[in-house]
Structures are given as structure tokens and as C-alpha cells.
């Protein structure tokens, strides 16, 4: 199963990330994880929160270019060995990882993965019985 990730287009302008976050800061929303990557002209802020639909609505109201998309959340034991093993399962199935970020939580590492083939990735998760988190499970961590 997949979870909703919000991607926000950000120009490389001083203070812009701050402005975007201040739109959201007054709401009672929990940030689960966030990452910003950049090129020379712009970046993309990727955000997973406790209320993705509220966040996207607020962003649209403020005219921010953003969209909702699907990523996988997989929980593994926080060891390099487990991390390597998990990625290898995807590689052996011929699946590319387009990008990934992670956060750790009481001995577990939660990998947020975007692959080039979501159906095949789900097959791998089922076949090897990986710990695939739903939005609710992620929220209850």
C-alpha cells in the first residue's frame, strides 16, 4: 500500500521555505518527515504530515504549486545490514529507486521510497512480507 506525499515546487529564493511553512504552522498538523532537494533554480519540498488533505488545501488556497503523489513507507530494523537487504530485494526484482529518504524511530528506520514501478514494488513487499506502513500506522508512531 502507498501513502500520500505532498510535493511543493520552490524557487531558490531566500526565505521561501520559511514562507511556505508559515502557511501551515498555525494549523495543528504533525510533521512526520520532510526533505528538500534542489537544483540551481528550484527545489522540491517533499512533505508527509498527519493531515495531507488539509495541507494541500491550504497550499492551494495560497496559490502554491503543489501536488499529492504516492510513495511507499517501509519499516526496517535500524541496521545497515537490514537496509542493504531490503534495497537488494527491489533491485533483484528489476525495480529502480527514483529517490528515497528516511527517519529513525525507536530502533526502526522508516524508508520512504519512490520507485519506477509501484505495482512491482508492492509485489516485492507482499512476497517478502516487508513491514509496509499505512498512513494511519505512520501517524500512530
Amino acid at each position: 500500500m502507498t501513502i500520500n506525499q505532498i510535493s511543493i515546487f520552490l524557487e531558490n529564493k531566500f526565505g521561501r521555505l520559511n514562507e511556505i511553512l508559515s502557511i501551515l504552522s498555525k494549523e495543528n498538523i504533525r510533521v512526520l518527515t520532510a526533505t528538500v532537494a534542489d537544483t540551481s533554480d528550484y527545489g522540491i519540498l517533499r512533505l508527509i504530515t498527519s493531515n495531507q488533505h488539509k495541507v494541500i488545501q491550504l497550499l492551494k488556497e495560497h496559490g502554491v504549486s503543489a501536488n499529492l503523489n504516492s510513495v511507499l513507507a517501509v519499516s526496517v530494523d535500524s541496521s545497515m545490514e537490514k537496509f542493504a537487504e531490503t534495497i537488494e530485494l527491489f533491485t533483484r526484482a528489476g525495480i529502480s529507486i527514483e529517490y528515497m529518504y528516511s527517519f529513525s524511530f525507536s530502533g526502526k528506520t522508516i524508508l520512504i521510497l519512490r520507485t519506477n514501478n509501484i505495482d512491482a514494488a508492492n509485489d516485492v513487499i507482499r512476497r517478502y512480507n516487508l513491514d509496509n506502513l499505512s498512513e494511519t500506522e505512520l501517524n500512530n508512531l
Binding site: L10, E11, R16, T39, Y42, I44, G63
Partner: protein
């Protein structure tokens, strides 16, 4: 008024009759113009009078009038009636030097209201329609010009004025607005907000016609507006010096704008040689008012580039059609020796569904070279994949290069971040030292 025409007799008048009417009105206009300090002096110097006009071609004996003339005779140097007969003044933005002022008698305003009503009737607006005007009111002619025109036609008019999209949408829904007037850059903004409110313009509004004017825009932009809002959009040409909206307007064929030749005399000239271009060729439009009392203008150089479309329009109107405005003779950019008009760039950008409507062209000297930067607003984010965003930038660059023959730097920017001035989008910034 007939089923199809507001003024059938005038709109479908035979060419010889129309030209006879023009000749008579041209003589009167020259006579009227001589009452103004500016033309009185000018015509005396050149030995010109109404007797100089024996055919329409004799207009060529008269010198051109330019925006500079209007500015240097600010504010009342063109008044051709005693000031007590003047009832309204409109003024265009004076970004450099004095603004230009246009004066109207009550009769001028009546003629103009009728002219706008004629245009709106032509695209199918009737007295049963609810017309909402999103133009700024005040000095900008798109406000009051449309207001009086729509009232003359008999519409229920909603003078919403500019801005506050949520309020505009509330009016559209509460009052059952069927006809809108907007500038092109605002049309898409409105469509976006309608979408954000979770509404479908086709189901949740009664909109059916949009009059789009004040900024030159491309066919591609029209199609997007029609698609987004589920209505028919018609292109309107106007300029405050020639009253304002309604100088030329598309009919339901959407193929060229009928210019009302009972009200203006049209010439198309080469802006460099000042000679008339061959029929059908692009040049600068030069207009002479034919009915104005307070402020007749003789051979006014509009700076707008267009051409006369050959042949007769299937709609039956005999007034000739001009093409969409192709740019302004004064906004042609010369970059690395290439002549470029902003509208060429716009046409390419509008083909990309991923992009919004606003763009800004900046030209600057980097080292010894002129460089062009095209910033364009992204629409809703269509992807969260960098490679796709980079591929988009690359494809825009490639298509622009094919069109303008030099390679601009293309930069995607966030929605709503490019500058807007007095409700009109700023399209070009030339930072080069010698410009």
C-alpha cells in the same frame, strides 16, 4: 436591431456607401479638429483644411499624430469643443512623462456606448444576459466603457471591478452571470480559483461568453481560456485614444476583428518608411476618428501591429477585419540582431499545459552579449520528478529557439510570483544599457 445585428444597416452597408459615409465624416472631422489649439496651428502651417479632402486617399496629405503629441499638449491642447461641453476625461497610465488624456462630450459617450453594445450584440450578448465586468473602473476605459455599452444593450450589469476572485465567483454564481469581461491573464486566474473552490465552471456557473481585451493574446491562450471555463471567448481591441474597448471586435466566426469603419478610418503603414503596406501585409495601424467631437484625432499612430484580412466575412458584415494584434511597433525587441515580439514567445508557452499564464522576458547584457531570460510560472505541479521538470525546461527552450532563432535561458517560477502592474501583466524588462 435584428436577430443578428445591432445596427444592420450600418454593419452590412455596401462598401461604396460606407466609403461615401467615411468621406463625409472625414471632412467634418478635419473641420472639427481645426477648433483645437494643436490642429489649428498644425493645419495652418501645412495649409490644410477640409477642402484638402476630396477622396479618402487625401488623408495621406495630413501629418501623423503621435502619443508624444498627446503628451506634449497635456492636458487640454487637443480639445476641439469649449470645455463646458466636455463631460468626461479618461487618461492612460503615464509610465514615462505625462499621461495622455482623452476628452468626451455627451454625444461622444453615447456613440461609444452604442459601439460597445454593437460589439457585444455581435458575439451573441442579449438583454437577457447578466454581464459582469472584472475591469478596473476609474481612468481605465475597460471599466466604464463596458459598463455603458452593456447597459445600452440592456444587460443586467454587475460592475464587480478588478480583483478578489472569490468575490467574483460568488457574484457569478449568485447573480447567474452569463457574460464576463476580463483581461486574458485574469481569465486563467479566475479559472484556477474556481477549480480550487471545487467547482466545475460548466455545471456550477451559467457563464457562456467572455470578452477578452486590453492585452494582446494569442489564439492558443484563447483556446485555453475556452477550455478551462467552458465558454466562448472573443477578442476585443481598444485603446483609450480611440475611446477604449470596442474599436474592433471579433464576430462569432472568431476569425479576425471587425473594425468599425463608420467610426474610424484605418490605414496600415510600414512603421519605418511610413508608407502604406500592401493589402494583407502586417504593419502599424493608423486610425482617424470619424465621429468624435471633443477630441478628433487625425492619423493617430497606434503602434499596434496588425494586418487587414482579405475577403469578406461569412457573418455578412462589410466592415473589414484586422488580425489579432501581433505586437507593438514599440515593443519589438532586437536581440543579437533578431527582431522578436513578446507574442511569439507567448504562443509557444501557451502550448504547454504544465505552465501557467504569466511570463516575463528579461534582456540584459552579460559580458558583451545580449542574453534573454524567459521566466514562466508553473501551473499546478504536474510531477514531483526533477528529470521531468528539467525535460520540460529543455523542451520549452528548444521550441523557443525554433521560433525566435536564439536560445533563451528558461526558468520555471512559482505561480503568482511574476509582476503585475495596474492589473496588466508586465511582459518585458530590457535592462540593456543602450535601450
Amino acid at each position: 436591431m435584428t436577430e443578428k445585428y445591432w445596427e444592420e444597416e450600418i454593419e452590412t452597408m455596401s462598401r461604396p456607401d460606407l466609403e461615401k459615409l467615411q468621406l463625409e465624416r472625414l471632412k467634418n472631422t478635419v473641420k472639427q479638429a481645426m477648433n483645437s489649439p494643436f490642429y489649428k496651428k498644425l493645419f495652418a502651417e501645412k495649409g490644410l483644411s477640409p477642402d484638402s479632402i476630396n477622396s479618402l486617399d487625401d488623408i495621406k496629405k495630413f501629418p501623423f499624430t503621435t502619443k508624444e503629441d498627446l503628451r506634449s499638449n497635456y492636458p487640454f491642447g487637443f480639445a476641439a469643443v469649449p470645455m463646458e461641453k466636455v463631460v468626461r476625461l479618461h487618461s492612460s497610465s503615464g509610465t514615462t512623462g505625462n499621461p495622455t488624456v482623452v476628452l468626451h462630450t455627451q454625444k461622444d459617450l453615447d456613440t461609444w456606448a452604442n459601439q460597445v453594445a454593437r460589439c457585444m450584440y455581435m458575439v451573441g450578448v442579449r438583454n437577457t444576459d447578466v454581464f459582469q465586468n472584472t475591469s478596473g473602473y476609474g481612468m481605465f476605459t475597460g471599466g466604464l466603457g463596458y459598463q455603458y455599452g452593456a447597459e445600452r444593450l440592456g444587460c443586467l450589469t454587475v460592475p464587480a471591478a478588478a480583483g478578489n476572485s472569490k468575490r467574483q465567483i460568488k457574484f457569478i454564481r449568485d447573480f447567474g452571470t452569463t457574460v464576463l469581461h476580463t483581461i486574458p491573464s485574469y481569465a486563467t486566474r479566475l479559472a484556477e480559483v474556481i477549480q480550487e473552490e471545487g467547482l466545475d465552471p460548466r455545471k456550477d456557473t451559467k457563464l457562456r461568453i467572455m470578452c477578452v481585451g486590453a492585452e494582446p493574446h494569442s489564439e492558443e491562450q484563447r483556446k485555453r481560456i475556452e477550455e478551462l471555463l467552458g465558454l466562448k471567448a472573443y477578442n476585443c481591441f481598444g485603446m483609450s485614444e480611440m475611446n477604449g474597448p470596442g474599436v474592433a471586435f471579433e464576430c462569432q466566426e472568431q476569425n479576425g476583428l471587425h473594425i468599425w469603419e463608420d467610426l474610424v478610418l484605418v490605414e496600415i503603414i510600414n512603421p519605418e518608411t511610413l508608407e502604406p503596406v500592401k493589402e494583407g501585409e502586417v504593419g502599424e495601424m493608423v486610425l482617424t476618428t470619424l465621429c468624435r467631437e471633443a477630441m478628433p484625432l487625425i492619423r493617430y499612430r497606434t503602434r499596434d501591429l496588425t494586418s487587414i484580412l482579405p475577403g469578406q466575412c461569412p457573418c455578412g458584415r462589410t466592415h473589414r477585419r484586422i488580425s489579432r494584434i501581433k505586437g507593438r511597433s514599440d515593443d519589438m525587441m532586437i536581440v543579437k540582431g533578431v527582431n522578436i515580439f513578446p507574442i511569439q514567445i507567448e504562443r509557444i508557452l501557451m502550448n504547454f499545459k504544465e505552465l501557467g499564464m504569466n511570463y516575463l522576458i528579461t534582456i540584459d547584457t552579460i559580458g558583451n552579449n545580449d542574453e534573454m531570460l524567459v521566466e514562466v510560472e508553473l501551473g499546478d505541479l504536474h510531477t514531483d520528478d526533477y528529470t521531468k521538470l528539467q525535460a520540460l525546461t529543455k523542451e520549452i527552450t528548444r521550441q523557443l529557439k525554433d521560433e525566435i532563432l536564439l536560445t533563451p535561458k528558461v526558468k520555471l517560477v512559482e505561480k503568482g510570483t511574476l509582476p503585475v502592474s495596474e492589473g496588466k501583466a508586465v511582459r518585458v524588462k530590457d535592462l540593456r544599457k543602450n535601450h
